[in-house]
């Protein structure tokens, strides 16, 4: 590049360090894997059960996040600077909070002696902690801020000018939302959904505390990996195999979403 906008050479060094930090651990994992044993490890009943549960809960959590997160982002983006700022700060709190703390907080809200959980237990006999539903709630709790931030940014970029025009053309608020606002922020929604899903798929801390580690009910891939890794030497190999599987699943889903996102733009 000789267009005068080159990067100072000195900055290549920290950039290389950053890249190495991100990529080398995965390389390490691949190198360290006991490849002949990998197929057996990933088709084991335990692994498949954990994978199935992970996909099921992460997809459910992501769908829930989209359904409630897009409207929340809309409210934040269209509120005044004060209320919007306050809502944004509170909504993104889980982002800066250790997931373990989130797990404890959820337990104290929805546990048998919790604020809401106590009422649910007494009135309906519903107990949330240590169920698959608890996994979905924990994943939604940690993943929702990613979606909200991404969609809210898209809404701010899109602005309200197109919406105003649509209104003067006779479109009701609902029609404007459906036919103008949503299509305009679609890239932001897709990006947010990807982040949200990735976060839900990898969720460990809040799930471990709030949902526990029951095989087939709450033991998702991260918990299965943790359990395997804490076992004897042989089990550590299956932890590595499961980790690789989780990485592959995440990458495949990212690629699928990417192709889905770019497809409509290619249409003439």
């Amino acid at each position: 590049m000789r267009d005068g906008t080159g990067i100072p050479r000195l900055l290549y060094l920290p950039a290389a360090v950053a890249f190495a930090l991100l990529v080398l651990p995965i390389v390490g994992l691949i190198v360290r894997a006991d490849w002949p044993r990998v197929p057996a490890a990933i088709v084991s009943a335990e692994a498949l059960s954990a994978l199935g549960l992970s996909l099921q809960t992460a997809i459910t959590a992501t769908v829930l996040c989209v359904i409630v997160g897009v409207p929340l982002a809309l409210v934040i983006a269209r509120s005044g600077p004060r209320i919007g700022g306050l809502l944004r700060a509170l909504s993104t709190l889980p982002l800066v909070m250790p997931p373990l703390v989130g797990g404890i907080a959820l337990l104290y809200l929805l546990g048998r002696n919790g604020l809401v959980g106590g009422v649910l237990d007494l009135a309906f006999g519903i107990r949330i902690p240590f169920t698959t539903a608890a996994v979905v709630i924990a994943q939604s709790f940690v993943a929702l801020p990613f979606l909200v931030i991404s969609v809210e940014g898209a809404l701010r970029t899109a602005g309200t000018r197109f919406e105003t025009v649509a209104a003067t053309l006779g479109a009701s608020r609902w029609t404007v939302f459906r036919r103008i606002t949503l299509p305009l922020i679609l890239p932001g929604v897709v990006a947010g959904t990807v982040l949200c899903f990735a976060r839900a798929l990898g969720e460990f801390g809040a799930t471990a505390l709030f949902a526990g580690n029951a095989a087939g009910i709450t033991r998702t891939m991260p918990l299965a990996i943790y359990t395997a890794f804490n076992g004897a030497g042989v089990a550590q190999d299956s932890a590595i195999a499961l980790s690789l599987l989780l990485i592959v699943v995440a990458v495949v889903i990212l690629l699928l979403l990417r192709s889905w996102r770019t497809e409509p733009e290619r249409r003439p």
């Binding site: 003067t168 053309l169 006779g170 009701s172 029609t175 404007v176 103008i180």
Partner: protein, 397 residues
């Protein structure tokens, strides 16, 4: 459709207090400098701003009413049937030109008026598209119906925006400097297209502009808005040909001075300078009434050195001496303040800042005139129009 808006809007320190009335088939041009409240007026009529006090009424249908007398009415923008077209076409980027135009018919809960009658209150997709295609054809873009806005030029985008605004079949159309973002040639094309389309649509139109050409081409009536108030309104020929104040005169490209009428068609300015008019002053002012005189900058001739000695003291020498012919200019001295580029040559302004002259650069060079030079000015009486000063308020009927 008759639009009546009588509004008082406050935004920070700024107050808009204006009343307009536009009938069906009529176009009102609202002329004013930046910050005069033009866009605020339009936004309030469209329902995007809430007035502190006022009324917006289309054919007796109350769209906005804020007063002490009754409950506040603020109809939401999408129910008003008021179209808005700004300088930015704002075509929906994810929709094709055709889909943009079809958006109004498709979205509004109104029975279509134009074209094939649809069964329901809302046009079907196919019906909306076929009507949209006709609107696109009307603006000469039927061939580009499938294009996305990003694949259209600025002028083409504005044409689509015009078709889109009209396809929603508004009763009132508000145009907010629709040609301001276009180059001169494209602006002229869009202007004639608008004139043609507005005549066909037969709606009440308000166009906000600071370009006098928009008013000349598009408007039946002109109103001058300055600092939130309407200073003058009426036929373009009257408002711009006989401007009420210096702002309106500047829009029309005229110098405006005020004084009292003396014998021999001389208007004596307060500081004693004389301006002679060749025509009779109509209607004849009462003795001592203030008279407005307007003349184009090209009618002001610059003469090198003062030929009249200190006529600012205004003894009657200039007038009486010049009276034999009766149609000759009465020169007076002036000091050059600034030279600015003009369309044809150089625009010269003088100390006191009420008169500007335009001449060629060659003439100025020949005279050896620069900033600070003392010169003599003579104004061609044949180019001076004089009339009794208009009262600044209460012109609006």
């Amino acid at each position: 459709m008759t639009l009546i808006a009588d509004l008082e809007v406050h935004r920070g320190d700024f107050t808009l207090d204006a009343r307009i009335r536009v009938d069906r088939g009529e176009t009102l041009a609202l002329l004013g400098p930046n910050g005069s409240g033009k866009s605020t007026l339009l936004a309030t009529v469209a329902g995007l701003l809430t007035p502190r006090r006022g009324l917006v009424n289309v054919d007796g249908r109350v769209l906005t009413r804020v007063d002490e007398a009754g409950p506040t009415v603020l109809m939401s923008p999408h129910r008003r049937r008021i179209g808005l077209l700004g300088q930015d076409p704002l075509l929906f980027p994810h929709l094709s030109a055709l889909e943009n135009v079809a958006f109004g018919p498709r979205s509004s809960g109104r029975r279509p008026v134009r074209g094939a009658a649809a069964g329901g209150p809302r046009a079907t997709a196919a019906d909306a598209r076929s009507r949209a295609l006709r609107w696109l054809d009307d603006v000469g873009l039927a061939g580009l119906a499938a294009r996305k806005p990003a694949e259209l030029s600025g002028g083409q985008q504005q044409r689509v925006a015009i078709a889109r605004a009209l396809a929603a079949e508004p009763g009132v159309l508000l145009l907010d400097e629709p040609m301001a973002a276009l180059d001169v040639e494209t602006a002229a094309l869009i202007r004639s297209l608008l004139r043609e389309r507005l005549a066909a649509a037969n709606l009440a139109t308000v166009i906000v502009t600071h370009d006098v050409v928009d008013a000349l081409v598009l408007a039946d009536r002109v109103a001058i808005l300055d600092d939130g108030r309407i200073l003058d309104s009426g036929e373009a020929a009257d408002v711009l040909g006989r401007p009420a104040n210096r702002f309106a005169a500047a829009l029309a490209g005229l110098n405006l001075v005020e004084g009292t009428l003396e014998a021999g068609g001389v208007i004596r300015l307060p500081d004693g300078r004389p301006v002679r008019t060749g025509d009779a002053v109509t209607p004849m002012p009462d003795a001592g009434d203030r008279v407005t005189a307007v003349f184009p900058p090209t009618a002001v001739r610059i003469v090198a050195s003062p030929t009249v000695r200190a006529s600012g003291t205004a003894s009657s020498d200039g007038i009486d001496a010049a009276s034999p012919a009766g149609d000759q200019a009465v020169p007076f001295p002036a000091t050059v303040a600034r030279l600015e580029p003009a369309v044809r040559g150089v625009r010269v302004t003088f100390a006191g800042d009420d008169i500007a002259a335009e001449c060629s650069a060659a003439e100025l060079l020949a005279l050896g005139v620069g900033e600070g030079s003392t010169v003599s000015l003579s104004i061609d009486p044949a180019c001076v129009t004089a009339y009794p000063a208009k009262s600044p308020l209460g012109v609006m009927g």
